[in-house]
Each structure stands twice: as C-alpha cells, then as structure tokens.
Symmetry: D2
C-alpha cells in the first residue's frame, strides 16, 4: 500500500463524515450490478422506498448521486424561479451560505440573520411574512453544524405552511439523530444524507419533496434539465421501469440500503435517545471541566454535535491536532465563521454512544493540559457519568 504513513484515527468523533457502521461498510463491498439489470432497477426502487419509510413520507425518496452540499445547490436551482421571493433564515455558516446560491435564481431575498450561536425566533419569521407577503420560499438549516445549534423547525414550519410558502430545509446533520421528519414539520424539500447521524458514507443525498414543491419546480421555467443541477431529471428515476438520468453510484446505493436497515432495525427512538444522551453527557463534562459551550443556551445545543469554545491561550488547530496525536481521537474544528473559535465533537451514527462522551472529554481535556491549559478532566468524567447514570 502506498498510503501515507499517518496512522489512521483510533476513534473518530468528527462532525461528519463520521465513522460508518460496520454493516454499512460491508454493504459498500457488495458486488456492483449493472444499473439497467432488473436486479438493480428493483433494488434502487426498494432503497428509495426504504428511505421513505425512514423519512415517514409516502412517496419514495429522491436519491441524488452527490453529497448534500451540491444537492442543496441543485435544490436552489430547481426550486427557486425568477419570480420567487425567498426568505433565508441564517443562524450559521450553512444558513448564510444558502443565500448566495439563492441569489443566482431568485427575484428577491429577505434574510433573517442572528448571531451564529443563536437560533431563529419563529416570531421573526411571522413578522417577515407580515412585511413581505410575497415570500414564496423559505430556507432553513435545521442543525447548522458549524455552530452545533438547532432551529425551531416545527414552529417555523407551521408559520410557513400557514402562509402558503414552501419550506426548504437542510436536515443533513439532524435527521436520523433526533425526531425530525418532513411531514410533521411541514417541510417541502427536506434534504438529508447518509454521512452524518445515519452513520453511512458521504456521497449521496436523500430528499423528500412534497407534491407542492414538485409542482413549483415543474412550473419553474429555469429549472435545470439534463443537468447535475436538476431535481426533475430524477423525479421518477426510483421506478424500476424508468431510466436513470445518468449512472447512479451503485456502491453508494448498496451502502444506503444498509444505512436504512441499520436505522430502522435498531429503532429510530432508540437511535435518537443515544444521540441525545451522548450529547447531554458531553455538555455536562465540558462544563464541569470549566469550558464553555458555543451555543448561547443549552436548549438550542444540538443532540448530534457539541461545539465548544476554544479557551484563551489555545488555538483550535493545536487543540484538535494534540488530541489526535496524543490519543488518536479525531474532532472537528470550526468552519467558516466559527473556524478558529470552536472544537466540535460529533455524536452521530456509531459515535452516538455515551461511552464516547467520556472519550471526548478525556481527549479534549488531556489535550488542553498538554497545551498548558488547566482543566479538571476528572470532574468532567464524573459529570458525564452522572448524566449517563441518570440516562
């Protein structure tokens, strides 16, 4: 093997791509079928249906052959027409970023932006609609991963639906790790992927599109066709008797199949519970060590990623790399506006296990100590154990 000589991580607690479940790794090594062999055509359909079961929607899910970031770009291109006014809700790097894509397609955009450690207030959304009744599309990032914060999707969804607008949600790093689904949140384009809470490999995107959203795209004169930016191309591709717009990523679809088996077989409620418990134990440990959460209030702290402020006198880069070198534990740093400001611990998929909260605390604390920053790791562990015991 000519791979580089850096040793692989011992424990990956990143904010994604995350460690992948063994069952999914094995599925990725299934034989690769010809995409127009009837076996694969039926298999693809079955995966789209399995995804729908997980998403709790009726129509088979849209399976896109790119990871979520470009799939969100494509959603903007497909959904936002030249007559559309968009309300962009920006509580973090990804929320803010959507606005730039929107600008390529919309007529006008209203933006509600809050500091990137806070959440959107539904009252502000209601107020925006009052001021701009022409808002046709609302875009929201449910969990803005670079901040580790959660927006009140249910309340926002209700307001958007009441106003007859369409809601596009990036639920990439929340779905599968907490109780959030398109229908009960009134989401019209619900975008998620296997590479976060579902514990799969990155490389595809799973989308639930409402009938209203399909109609809007079909009416959009600029909606891309014969393009990687097109949602419409793939609308019927799940049917075993319809063609694929281009070759699907067969190995990734094999992996997706196992991703949903893993999730549904364990039981969503159980999966969410261990995500929440791991995050809660991590937060307790972080605070007991004298560190500070990035999220302004614990109420909006994500159950799938914990962002921790980098303490004074330490750099994010040094903290992350010391944890890696000394313990083989991989964390994420910040991203975009949070770069340099936070260390992030992912609690996603197979890493969403309470014992890893203690691993995270030990590695974070041990690394800080190496860097000359005093922390009481023992207290952190005790606090995490108390949360786990209360379970």
């Amino acid at each position: 093997m000519s791979a580089p000589t850096i040793k692989e991580a011992v424990v990956t607690l990143s904010a994604g791509p995350v460690a992948v479940y063994p069952s999914v790794l094995r599925a990725l090594s299934r034989p690769v079928a010809y995409h127009y062999d009837p076996y694969f055509q039926h298999f693809f359909e079955s995966v789209a249906k399995k995804a729908a079961t997980a998403l709790r929607v009726k129509e088979p899910a849209l399976l896109l052959q790119v990871e979520p970031a470009p799939a969100i770009e494509a959603a903007a291109a497909s959904l936002i027409g030249p007559e559309d006014t968009v309300l962009n809700l920006a509580s973090g790097v990804y929320g803010k970023g959507f606005g730039y894509w929107s600008a390529r397609y919309h007529k006008d955009m209203v933006e509600i932006e809050v500091p990137f450690n806070e959440a959107i207030d539904p009252a502000d959304v209601a107020a925006a609609f009052k001021q701009r009744p022409d808002i046709k599309i609302v875009s929201l990032v449910h969990h803005d991963t670079p901040s580790g914060t959660i927006n009140p999707i249910r309340e926002i969804g209700k307001i958007v639906r009441d106003h007859g607008a369409l809601l596009l949600v990036d639920a990439v790093s929340s779905f599968g790790g907490m109780d959030v689904h398109p229908d009960d949140c009134h989401v019209d384009v619900f975008i998620t992927g296997p590479g976060k809470c579902l514990g799969g490999a990155p490389g595809t995107t799973v989308v639930a599109v409402s009938e209203r959203a399909w109609a809007h795209m079909e009416a959009n004169p600029k909606a891309p066709r014969a393009s990687i930016l097109s949602y419409l191309d793939w609308k019927d591709a799940w049917r075993h008797d319809k063609p694929f717009p281009f070759t699907p990523s067969v190995a990734e679809i094999n992996g997706l199949d196992a991703v949903f088996d893993q999730y549904l077989n364990e039981g969503p409620e159980k999966v969410w519970r261990r995500h929440a418990l791991t995050a809660a134990a991590t937060r307790a440990g972080v605070k007991a060590m004298g560190l500070e959460l990035w999220a302004k209030t614990e109420a909006i702290a994500s159950p799938t990623t914990t962002a921790i402020r980098v303490p004074d006198g330490v750099t994010e880069q040094a903290w992350v790399s010391t944890a890696r070198d000394a313990f083989g534990v991989v964390f994420s740093g910040g991203f975009g506006a949070t770069a340099g400001k936070v260390l992030r611990v992912g609690h996603m998929g197979p890493a969403a296990e309470p014992i890893y909260a203690t691993t995270a605390i030990t590695a974070m604390g041990g690394a800080l100590r190496k860097l000359g920053h005093k922390v009481d790791v023992g207290a952190g562990i005790e606090a995490a154990l108390a949360v786990i015991a209360a379970g």
Copy 2:
C-alpha cells in the same frame, strides 16, 4: 433483507457499470475517515498522484465527486466561454450529446457528424479548421460506448494541437482498457472514470487537465465557482493542506485507491492485452455464429465493448432478457440512437478475460436459439477458441 426477489446476475458482461474487482470491493469497505483528518488529507493526495501515474501525467489528477456524465457537463461549463467556438465531433450518442451541453456556453459550434457506426475522419477535422480558424475547443468521445466504436484520437489530437485549439476528450470507457493517455494524444481535458475498464465502482471521475486548459478556464468569465459544475473549485483540492470545496465521497476515494493499485500492479500492458484479446475472440465468435458487428469495420471496433446488431425477427429487449433469464448473463442493450438495434458485450475490468468471450457467445447464442433464431453456437465457440489460442 428487503431487497427484491430478482436473483443477482451470475456473470455481468455489461458496458458499464461493470463487475468490480474483489480488491476494489474490499477497499470500498475500508473505514470512512473524517475528510479533514490529516490521514485522509494525505490519502486523498496520494490517490490523486496514483491516478496521475496511471494517466502518465505529471500533475496529480483532478478527482471529481460525480460520475463522468455530469463531470463532462461540468467540463463544458468550466471550459467553454462565451467567446469560444467549439468543434464537436459526433460519431455516436455521447458525442452528439456533448453538443447540447456545449450550446449552453459557447458562442458558436461546428459539428462533424458521421453515421453512428463509423469513426471521425481526421481529414475532416483538418478541413474544419481550415474553414473555421476560430475553432478554440474540440470535443471528442474516444470510445462512443453505445456504438462500441473508437475514434482516431492520436491523429485528431495532433491536428488540434497544431492549430492551437484545446481538445476535450471523453475517454471514460477506453482508458484503462487500451493504450490511450492525455499527453501522447495531445488532450487538454481528458476525462475518465473508475466504473468501466478500470473495474471500479461508478461515482467519481478522474480528469487530467493541461496547463493550457486550466488557463483557459481561469480566463473564462462564466466558469462556475462554488458549484458542482466547477472544475476550478477542485483544482488544488488534491493538496493535503488545501480545503475541499465540499465533502469528498470518502468511500469512493477508498475504492479509487485500489482501482489504481489493481491496474498498476497488474501492469497496464497486460491489462490492455486481455481487453483486446477478449474483444477479438468475441468478434470472431459473433461472426462465426452468423451475426453482424455494429461497427462498420472491425478496425474501429472497440477492444472494450462489442456491439452486435440485433438480428431480424428478434428484439433487443427479448435478447437481453432471455440471456439474463436462461443463463444469468447480463448484457447491455443499445442506448439512445442505438437502442433497439444492438446488444453490447462489455470487456472491461475483471470481465476482460478471454474465457468470458466464450461465455458471451454461449449466452448470446443460446438466447437467440430460445427465441427461435438459428445460430451455430458451436461454430462461435470454435472461432473464439482459435483466436484465444493464437492470442
């Protein structure tokens, strides 16, 4: 498992996605690393370099996170500027199709089109340049898979370079199965992928871009940025100390690593030889059975895919599905303009083994006989064996 009840194929001899080498399947199941972990950053760089070794170019290859069709769309978007005149060479479905993408970006397009069972004549390319010295970009499909025909890339490349134009080549289903490389064919954007002759999974694209082509893209005012259609976003992403524009498909990159190991360890010349021998044996058998090759002359028949005319009284669909049902052997039908007209046998990756020429002949012949079409399968086998013995 909730997979459908259609049994998986026994032998896949499709035109791609093809059966994948066992070593690549195993690589697809390697642990998924966090993309910003130094291990993965160095690993990604090493794969880009390994790809360059295979492509025989100096600069690490561009690794794109989509399969080749959208990567070619992105090449059109990135390379073709609003002042560019394009010469599109169309000898098959894919060649013709490129023109539609080109039309979104170019100023003007000249097209040379030949019947889809023939190859482009380099003299026609020279003539086109004489008539339109403003041609800036030439696009060519080296192996137009739906036809199973090969274009004279070396001769065309020489002419294009002599005129100072840029040559964009789709070598997706030829590279890795025959002796074709960017530099000796004067190709500026050389696009290939793991899912054909290299025997890997589809889902990524490997591109060699010349310095001249990078300069042209950088000068293109409409070249996409912050987009899945952008080549420029990924230009430096192979460097371990540069960011990724979005999350790479980690599992696919794991697979790519093994794809190039497999190819380089076996030895390219050996790999090409078994592709050529398998194709030659297949053609001999086809003719001995009284069937007709689609390619107008055997000289332009691809060493990686053999397209055979569907005989009168039989439908492509019946032929393909009977071979599948009776023998578990998977073939491709035609595509686009060749749909309904040909059955295609892939000789790619692990299927490029002479014994599979006889498998193909047996299954094709046996299926025709079931459909009431008389063929001398025995004669087909004997002819193939003679080619293999002379091999």
Copy 3:
C-alpha cells in the same frame, strides 16, 4: 502486498474449497466479537439453530471448529468404542480412508469395497448384517468426491436402522447440493460443512447427531474429553448459557450464519435444481466432446461434481494446468486412488449455475486441444445448451 505473482483464478470450478458467495465473504468480515459476550453467545446459538433448520433436524446442530476431515476423525474417536464392530462401506478414497481411522478405535471391522467408479449395493449391506449381526456402526460416504459418485443413502439408511445399528455419514460434498437430510435417510451422525455445496469457506463442520448416537458416545468409555477429538465436549456448547470447550472460530461462525441464510433464502429446492442442471449439462457436453465420465453409470454420477477420465496421451496435471493458464479456469484433479486418472469439475455453491457448465466444457476442451488432443468443443457446447434449454 507481498503475495506471489501468480494471478488469481478467473473462474473456480474446483471440487472444493469452492468459490464463496459474496454474501458469505462479506459476513466473514463482520466484527469479531468476544466469545463470552452475550451478543456472541446468543449469536452462536442462533447459527446452530439455523443450521438445524437447513438440516431439517430438531436439535441445534453441532458446530465444530475444524474442517470436515478432522471432524470425521473425531467422529470415529467419539462414536466407535472398543466393543464396536464397524461396517465400512468403501466406494471411493474417502470411504476407504475412514477404515483407517476406525481401526484405531473399533473391535472389529467388516468392509464392503467396490471399484471406485461404482456405488455400494444396498443388498450387500443387508447381506453383511445377516452374516455379522454384531455390526453396531455403519460408515458411509454419501458422495465420494474424488470419484464424483453417489451412494444410495436412503436404502442403506433403512437397512441400518432396521438392524438397530448406527449410521455415520460423510455428506460433506452432497448436502446443500441435493436432497439429502439426516432424518429421512436414518443417519445418526450426519457430517457436512460449509465449504462445498453451501458455498462457504472451509474451516468448520456442521453435524447432526441423533439421540441414539449421543447415547452411544456417552456410553463409550474411550470417547475423548478435553480434546479436539471430542464430540461430547461440544454437545451443549450451542446453548448461550454454556461454556465453549475452547475458543470458537468467530469469523467462521459469522460466515456460517450467512451460509445458511443464503441457502434458506434462495430455497433449498431451487439450489438443488441448479446443481443438478449444471451437472447434467456438463455430463452431456463431456460426452458430446467424446470424453468419458469416470462414474460407471450416469445414474450414480454426482450432481455436485463431475469426474472425467483423463484421455490417453494427456496427463491430468497438464490438462488442469493448461486450463488454468489458457483460460484462468480452475479444475480439480483426482485425489488418492483417482489421482492422475480424472479431472473434476465442481458444481457447488455459486458455481452451480448452468452457464458454468459451458465454461467448463470450453476450458476443458480448449485445454485438450492445446495439448494436441482433438475434441469437438462446439459439439460439447451444443449438447450442454440442449440440456439447459430442456432445463
């Protein structure tokens, strides 16, 4: 990789170890659990029960941590006591060989031996009982793989049971490929393994032991204990709350689980049918090529392995190695008394597919031709196709 430079086979049609189903290969790569972790203890029990379902017996099967040859040695050691008279039925190399193991433990042995291309006549068994009513144990190889011949197990089983003796059967290379089970054949120690018709990896043995046989072992004063030769040590090891005599081969047990899933999910009857059809097509092709089956009559030719006489002027070794070198197809030669006399084609597990009958014929015929021996390969293929078409 420092593996030797011999290329791996393209198609393995050996008499075992055979090519393994992809689903089983993947199962072999499941995480290895600690054997006393409750997960594994329950898992082991579930595999023993799944094996029993496949064997159509009530008690969970005995899972031994060695491949069948030593498991048969252990059966002799465990079952045959110092007061036991054994009737050994020898119609092949393995049948004959059992007598040598028996000799270490029995009081006396009666042997019926027939030429190694014939089968045991049940009438001779009945006659033996008449002459030696003290026969307590009868040993039979159902399918003597080195000969590719099948013994009439049902008839023999009836006679043995009627006389109150115990029947020990080596069904290693027949179970899973044809309709044979312990209870309907009155077998008391029914030994099989995953590495033949079940398409798994070699390395374990699966045994059904009747209550009468357990009682006999428990009464055997010389039955080994605390030994790899002991059956009794493992009698209760399938229970999740009982200890293992020594560490089970965890990866092999993972593989076994998938072996039985594969068999039961496809459906035994379907599996047997494709074994039988592949063998029949192979025999037809062999004869049409002018070669001779080793089995004296086709009625006793195995549906899971076809043994073909090496024609004059050719050596087994040259035939096998030429097929390997020219086509990448792996066959078995003879073994023991049949070494040098036969080439054997396995039709087992994933190789039990009719298309592989034609692969075998092509590779056998092509190799003979290379060696200067004239055969009509085309006729062989046509004959095989006719059998498959009649299917």
Copy 4:
C-alpha cells in the same frame, strides 16, 4: 437477519478473541481460492514465511488449522513421548492445564506450581533440573491470561537450553504485544495465534518449531500421524509443491496474511510500545480508583491484559455485565481458578491504544458505582492521563 436482539458491543476490551483490525476483517473477505490452485499454494507459503519474519525465525512457520488450545494439545501429543519426563511450570490456569494433557503421553512429570498471581522463579527451574536430570521437556505459559501475569521466559529458556531439554511455550497472548521471540528465548516449540495481540480472528495457530523439536517428534514412536493431533503431518505443508494433510481454512489464511502485514508494517517496536503504555495507564488508573491488581507485583503484570481483583460486595458477573449494559464496553471475567475473582481488561491489537485505558477505567468505575461500590473515577482518569502524558 435472524441474529439475536442483543446489541453488539461498542468497545471490546476483552482478553481475546479481541476486536480485529479493519485491514484483517477485509482480508477475511477475500475470495476463497481452491487450496490446490497454484495461486493458493504459493500464497500459503508466503504467509508461512511472513509469519517467520514476524517470529524472527528462519524456517517458515507452522500454520495449524485450529485455534491455540487444541494446537497445544496437539503439541503435547506430538512432542511428548512415552519415555519423556516433563517439567510443567504452573503459574496459572493454562500452565496447570497443560499438565493434564501431558499426562496422556509422558512417562513422568515434575511440576512447579506457584500461586496464580505469582510468576515462576527461574531458580526453582534450575533446582528442578538438579534434582531430576532426566527432564527432557519443559512446558511454560509465558503469559497466563486468566491471571494477567508474565513469566521470566528468557531466564528459564537459558536454563532449559543449558540442560539440553526442550522448551515448549504458550506465547499465545504475549507474542505480538511485547518483545518475545523463539530464538532469543531458546524456545523449541513456540505457540502463538492471531486472535490476541496480533488483532486477528481466532481459528488458526502459528508455531515455530526448532530443528531439535522436529527431531524429537520424528523420534517419538507415538507421535500422531494422519490426525488433527499431528504436527508432523503439517511440517512441509508450507511448501507450494507439497500436499496439505487436509483442507486449510482458506479464509483464515487470508486473514493471517493481513495480520502479519499489519504487524510488520506498523513496526513491532511501535506495536509493543502502545501495548505497554495502555497497560501501564490502566494499572495507574485502577490503583488510583482504589482497586487492586491481581498480579502480586506490578513487575509481573502483563502488558497485554490487566487483571483486577473484584472488590468485596461486588460479583465479577455483575461488574462485567453492568459495564456492558451501561456503556457497551466488553471486559473478560476470570477463567478457571480466577473465575469470580477478577475482571480482565485486554490491551491487545487495535485495543492496545492508550485512549482505551481511559475507556476501561471509566466503564469499570462507572459500573462499580452503579453497583453501589464507591470509586473515584475522576482520580483514575487523571492517573491514567499522567502515565500517557509521560508516554
């Protein structure tokens, strides 16, 4: 899947079978070759040589197709002749147990037994030779896993060699995790396996046999032949041109190949260092929590397994199962004479990483607290971190 509903472990820190390296799991899923195909014959030889490189011996290693316990039984059967006097050194369950196997074959046995938390004193070995100059074979367990204690193999080896006796050593759970090799310790039959410190699957045994030991076996009139108990059967089986006594466990050999690649590529010294450091950190944490090591002195505590006394008021069973239930962490209990008395933490293969010392301390401590036993987990973590920092 019909597997039981107990969830798989999150972190396995058992004393073996241990968690297996991902590279080895993938190797277990390599295609299964026919054992007499030249590819496999050469491959088997290459693995035997790779094992010898790891063992630092000249002759290719003996690869046995059973896990170490029966391989040790077979060693007794093969090496100990009816005229041999054996000196059995018993400092633990396994050492004591060897005497029972020896009793089946030897003429006489001398035994030095020490309490199972102590190590053999070389002076006692020297004294035994003085008293019984007829001692021909000495048997030693280097690391008696149920006790987690290490015997002074170098010193003992020197004494045994000086007296011209043969030394048989069970190094199953020490080799690969610390600096111990046959030649520099004067060991004649050095038995180890992949399922402990080498991080592979259990199911095979790797043995280095000295020329003197082979000569002794060959001279042993009772040495088994044509038996699973025979070492002599396999003596030359590593040669690619020699037959196998019975079918090798192909998948396990595939795994072994990766086991030695993993070990040799990382570098033995690095591997030993992380075993030692993990064990040292664990011991420091255990003591800081107020728990007691089983080993009488830390000097004889194993670097690959730490055995900890079960504190008063708690049962081993409750401790182990609470750690499993509350944290998903798997530990081993005691075995044989240590059953009920100790909990054992394995530091073997991929689990030999310092971060897992803290995982072990957290899970042990957290479980004890749940059981009402007070421990200062925080202090345990701090103590472990201090050891790791001193590295």
